[in-house]
Amino acid sequence: MANQDSADIVIVGTGVVGCLIAEQMLDAGLSVLMLEAGPRVERWQIVENFRNLRPGQRLDFNAPFPPKPWAPHLEANTPAQAAEYLDLVGPNARAYRQDYVRYAGGSTWHWAGICWRLTPEDMQLKSRFGVGRDWAFGYDTLEPFYSRAEAALGVGGPSDPALQWPPIRSKPYPMGRLPFGPGEQKFTDAVARIGLTNLPAAQARNSGISYDGRPPCCGNNNCIPVCPIAAKYDAATALPKIEAKGGRILANAVVYRVETGTRNAIEAVHYFDPDKASHRVTGRLFVLACNGIETPKLLLLSKDERNPRGVANSSDQVGRNMMDQPKLVAELELAEPLWTGVGPVQGSSIMQTSQGDFRGRHGGALFRFNNMARSRIGGTAALKKGLVGKALDQEIRRLSACTAEIAIEHELLPDPNNRLTLSDKTDWLGLNRPRIYYDVGDYVRRSASEFTVPLVRRIAAELGATSTQVSTEFTNSDHIMGGTIMGLEPSASVVDVDCRAHDHANLFLPGGGAMTSGGSGNSTLTMAALALKAADAIASQLKVG
């Protein structure tokens, strides 16, 4: 049984990765202590926070999660506020303004629930296309963990292989697909006319049935920033289950140093409480699952005599290869209504555009019809026209129904120059803030200019758009990857095939940071699969040791 000072397994971070590992470890009979930098709150509080956001802030997905002073994360109510935590530099600094949440449950509070897998090709960019890096193993190795992750999160998806991505599966989805609303169906029909398939997304949202103690999705259309009924998997629902199995969870515990000892094993982690008092926690094995920014930051903060570049960083790769899927957005106005806001906020994507021989020259991309209700956007635009009475109502209805947004999320290559370092600026506790240099690179820029922007204009024309505006500045997709990259060579990577640090046998760094490439799809299911792979390795290691 864990106490608040020690456990077999000490897990830093309570997001999807930390929670999946905690449950596996408890099931294996090991004691678990989880340390969370931020507060622990109830779902209703987040729902209330959301409903009390002023209209202009309702697309700021971090806004219902006000950070505690000791656990800052990005806030973007104003541009000045957005610059207060993440110290972003480089040609595409704006595109790394990542919306992650330092709360118990992590960013699963406001993830969309989308569960794309990587394809075999996504994992072999170097050998197939001569760019990027290959993963240390192939899709066949990851596939069983994808299936387990889908069962653990409760993923609904289509049973027809023609609609699965990729259709290489050892098990069916635990649930069927969710239905489309009018907009997603019309988008699907339109892109089919130009030879594209809009796939129903695999999504961690209960489809028509209860699953794992959570209710079926009722189409509240608020997956981002919070599912009010817990139909979507979020780690907040996992925390009580972990406690019921004997796990301990300490909130408001900001781990700021990883302590090494003889043979460079990890001896302890140190955390500050909200009174700035420091505490030391020991364990047999440590898992850092703080997310793709906070984990490399913590490793760099922990440099010592044995590890002068930081813990786990003999390769100098910690904090390098920072990835995401740089996003462009097409805003459409149409002659006929499409309608959004029916069902989940995201429920489909075109994925075939992520694959192709072009990947030697430019990246692939995902195209997604965003299904978030556009009533606030349409209403605000109609009010700005100074209309009143029936004319106002008609214009609100028209602008809400006859406008749409298509997101384009681009594949990015791992680049060691896209690098997280420690800023000389510090936070409330005096800890260095993360500084990130970010350039999406020519691989992405060529993808946009030669491939995705021309294609989205074709799609818009097929939809009957009367106006199409494509953004020119890349923005964040919140899929933080690469900063503790996996590989077989300890000189060129941070973790091994089980997300174990090459430099420390009892330190695991599972999650997005380990991903060698990101493809074009959302990263969470791959993070979850890597967590389960790491969990198997940890259980095996501790039982043998």
Binding site: R51, R54, P55, P179, G208, C217, G219, N221, N222, I396
Partner: protein
């Protein structure tokens, strides 16, 4: 008080009758009366009182402007906003009329950092599409109970 004549029918402002006859209630009455002339929908009395109080707190000219707008409406014998809105002179009075309409539709008197949200579910901005679009966080169907069908754009819901 608490009701107004609109198109020959009396539309009560919800909750108005249950109010105590306080000074605050009296202060909100002209705001509610004007609101009902500016907006041809059922209006919630409690939301109206809170909007009136919030708007009055930021601008002492509010009461005089409401009186002036009501005078224009009465002079035209207005029953709906289209009857008198064109006669409101451009400038502060017209801006005030639009601000009152905007407050009812958006649920805030001012969409800037720190603004207090007075209405969300009942904010009128969500109502012209309420037959199709979910008001975020409030489900309108059930488990997998939605479809790809939608009524015509011309079928405005009643609200």
């Amino acid at each position: 008080m608490g009701a107004c004549l609109l198109g020959g029918a009396v539309w009560p402002i919800d909750g108005a009758q249950s109010l105590p006859a306080s000074a605050a209630t009296d202060a909100a009455a002209p705001f509610l009366e004007l609101s009902q002339l500016l907006i041809p929908h059922h209006l919630d009395g409690e939301i109206g009182r809170r909007l009136a109080a919030a708007m009055a707190a930021t601008d002492p000219a509010l009461a005089n402007q409401i009186d002036a707008l009501l005078a224009i409406a009465r002079a035209r014998g207005a029953k709906v906003v289209e009857d008198f809105f064109p006669d409101i002179p451009a400038g502060p009075l017209r801006e005030r009329a639009l601000a009152i309409i905007s407050a009812w539709y958006t649920g805030v008197i001012d969409d800037t950092p720190g603004a207090e949200v007075i209405a969300f579910e009942l904010a009128l901005i969500y109502q012209p599409t309420r037959d199709v679009m979910t008001i975020p966080s409030y489900a309108i169907s059930g488990p997998n109970g939605w479809t790809s069908e939608a009524p015509p754009l011309t079928e405005m819901p009643e609200f």
